[in-house]
């Protein structure tokens, strides 16, 4: 019971081979390389084939893409499928444990954010990541009704990226103070940047740093 070996691990690629972006966008999204194209060689994501994927692909068609990278499976799905596919994964495929919800910011892309659900199934001892892309300012259905644990995780994503989750019971900042402006994990937020006004008012520090 080592890795989640649903599909064989990708063979190590030949040395020096240039690869395109590893972030496989959803079928609906335009393929955007996140960053430096001059990356060193690495393993490639390969399509992931399993009964699970077949079933959902037949159901949802092009809205869903399944891949494996370094032995880890992920589904890239269209934003419109989001609450349904997560619910199905929990109910039908026994992915009963939502490990984590997080996001990645790609400022140069049209749909700036990747939102990820990392799921785990106790009965199958298997992990899967579900990814979707949304634009800045767009919202996404909350998964709190599916996994209660999503409550704080979504709040953290909201806090750090400003992604809104529809239907979240109490969507507010969790780690940063309530009145804080800005979402620090966005790429356009500098590492030294602070909400100077907040610091001045609430901490009484004149410099705001």
């Amino acid at each position: 019971m080592a890795e989640e070996v649903k599909s064989p691990a990708p063979p190590p690629p030949p040395e020096g081979e240039k690869k395109p972006a590893a972030e496989k966008p959803a079928a609906a999204a335009a393929p955007v390389a996140p960053a430096k194209p001059a990356a060193p060689a690495g393993p490639v994501p390969v399509p992931w084939t399993s009964p699970l994927v077949e079933k959902y692909r037949s159901q949802y068609g092009s809205g869903l893409d399944a891949q494996t990278y370094l032995g880890q499976n992920y589904l890239t799905v269209d934003r419109s499928l989001i609450p349904d596919i997560l619910r199905l994964l929990r109910d039908e495929e026994q992915f009963d444990y939502c490990v984590d919800i997080t996001a990645v910011h790609y400022p140069k892309r049209e749909k700036q954010f990747d939102v990820l659900w990392i799921l785990y199934s106790f009965p199958r001892n298997e992990r899967v990541r579900v990814k979707t892309q949304i634009a800045d300012g767009a919202s996404i259905p909350s998964s709190v009704p599916i996994w209660p644990t999503a409550n704080w995780l979504e709040r953290e994503v909201y806090d750090m990226f400003g992604i809104k989750f529809d239907g979240h019971p109490d969507l507010k900042r969790i780690l940063l103070p309530d009145g804080w402006k800005g979402h620090p994990l966005r790429k356009d937020y500098g590492i030294l940047q602070q909400d100077q006004e907040w610091v001045q008012i609430n901490l009484g520090i004149e410099s705001g740093q």
Binding site: M1, A2, E3, E4, P12, K19, A21, A22, E23, P34, A35, K36, A38, A39, P40, A41, G42, P43, P45, Y69, L70, Q72, D96, Y97, C98, V99, D100, T102, V104, H105, L116, I118, F122, N125, R127, R129, W147, P148, T149, N151, W152, L153, E156, M160, P169, D170, K172, R173, I174, L175, L176, P177, D178, G179, P184, L185, K187, Y189, I191, N202
Partner: protein
């Protein structure tokens, strides 16, 4: 008071006119400066007399933006930062991070390094559980176990200090293996520790396990069912105490864990007492693992072939390990540069803390303290 303004958002604190003889619903602030919140956790309690009607955790006082820092540091430079998250189990944090990056780079640490990692990580697990036991017992009012556990934890910290020079934030591992070869006498020290600590564990247990007051304070307190625990994403000893036999060391073995023989202790009731028993049993299992590992350390290199400048290929990886507090995961997105494009830490304490509200509703104030203790949170990790 705190500058925050959201004192009690979801506690329905409408400013209604209080009746003349109103004796209900007291709102008290537990923390951020409170002896039993294990750091700067603030719990807003809504009480009816002493009965807890609801809680709200206000966290973030220790937020340092670890994930943001990661995006601005190279993989190597970021390594010490992970020690500062769960500072009582820094070795586990380092192991998770190094293994995640290694996995992303598709390299594997040599066998000897893996054994050293297992030994140090398990020692750290014991240290973490000892610290937990001491503070938890102190919260429930037993002073003495604290000093016993700190006395014995000291021996572990001495081994860390001799190995890498640091006691708490060890930065013991490097991407690709270990920086340091074991010092002369490392095996002897570890074996001495094993024979030293085993009777001490019994000593803690004589103080607590059958103590009537301890039983009354912990049995049926903070009960969480297996289904609730899974739904809330609770991991680690808290999940196992609810009867779910799941440990990443067995489920998805990493480092050299597949080579050792150990058991996953589980509880049945999911109450505070079971969590106590599970952690005590885990200490014993850790001792078993260390014994096997230290007797079987293979010879060989301690570093894999890793380039001087670490530049993982474009891609993303999620790797998690069984930290003393639960599943500690690292999700790393690489853009092929020397810095992580995005690094996400899946902190066990953060997710476990979310279960507090479910566990304490309907209990008394004294139980809140016991449940915070039994969740074994470290605010450095909750807030990152």
């Amino acid at each position: 008071m705190s500058p925050r303004t959201n004192d009690s958002a979801n506690l329905d604190l409408e400013t209604r006119e209080k009746p003349y003889l109103d004796s209900n619903e007291l709102i008290i602030n537990m923390g951020p400066q409170h002896p039993a919140t294990h750091g700067v956790l603030r719990v807003i309690l809504k009480l009816d007399g002493e009965k807890v009607l609801g809680t709200e955790c206000v966290i973030g006082y220790l937020h340092r933006g670890v994930e943001k820092i990661a995006e601005n540091r190279t993989y190597t430079m970021f390594n010490p930062y992970v020690d500062r998250m769960d500072y009582v189990a820094a070795v586990s944090n380092g192991l998770g991070y190094c293994e995640a990056v290694e996995k992303l780079m598709n390299v594997e640490a040599p066998a000897r390094a893996k054994y050293i990692r297992v030994i140090l990580t398990e020692l750290n697990r014991i240290a973490s559980h000892q610290l937990w036991l001491g503070t938890h017992a102190l919260d429930i009012g037993a002073m003495t176990p604290l000093f016993y556990t700190f006395r014995d934890r000291e021996e572990i910290l001495k081994i860390f200090e001799k190995y890498c020079g640091a006691r708490l934030t060890t930065h013991a591992f490097r991407i690709g293996g270990c920086q340091y070869e074991t010092y002369a006498g490392f095996e002897k020290d570890v074996k001495n520790f094993l024979s030293f600590v085993a009777p001490k564990i019994d000593e803690y247990e004589t103080l607590l396990t059958t103590n009537r007051i301890w039983l009354e304070r912990t049995k049926n307190v903070g009960v969480i069912s297996a289904a609730d625990a899974i739904a809330l994403g609770v991991t680690g000893p808290v999940l196992r105490a609810s009867g779910v036999k799941w440990d990443l060391r067995k489920a998805q073995p990493y480092a050299a864990y597949s080579e050792f023989d150990f058991e996953i202790p589980i509880g049945t009731n999911g109450d505070t007492y079971d969590r106590y028993l599970v952690r005590m049993a885990e200490i014993r299992q850790s001792l078993r693992i260390i014994e096997q590992a230290v007797n079987g350390i293979p010879e060989g290199p301690i570093m894999a072939k890793v380039p001087k400048v670490i530049k993982p290929p474009v891609g993303e990886i999620y790797h998690s390990i069984e930290a003393p507090k639960g599943e500690l995961g690292y999700f790393i997105v690489s853009d092929g540069s020397t810095q992580p494009y995005r690094l996400r830490v899946r902190p066990p304490s953060f997710v476990n803390l979310q279960a507090l509200d479910v566990m304490v509703r309907g209990l008394l104030v004294a139980d809140v303290v016991a449940v915070i203790g039994t969740l074994d949170i470290v605010l450095g990790e909750v807030d990152r």
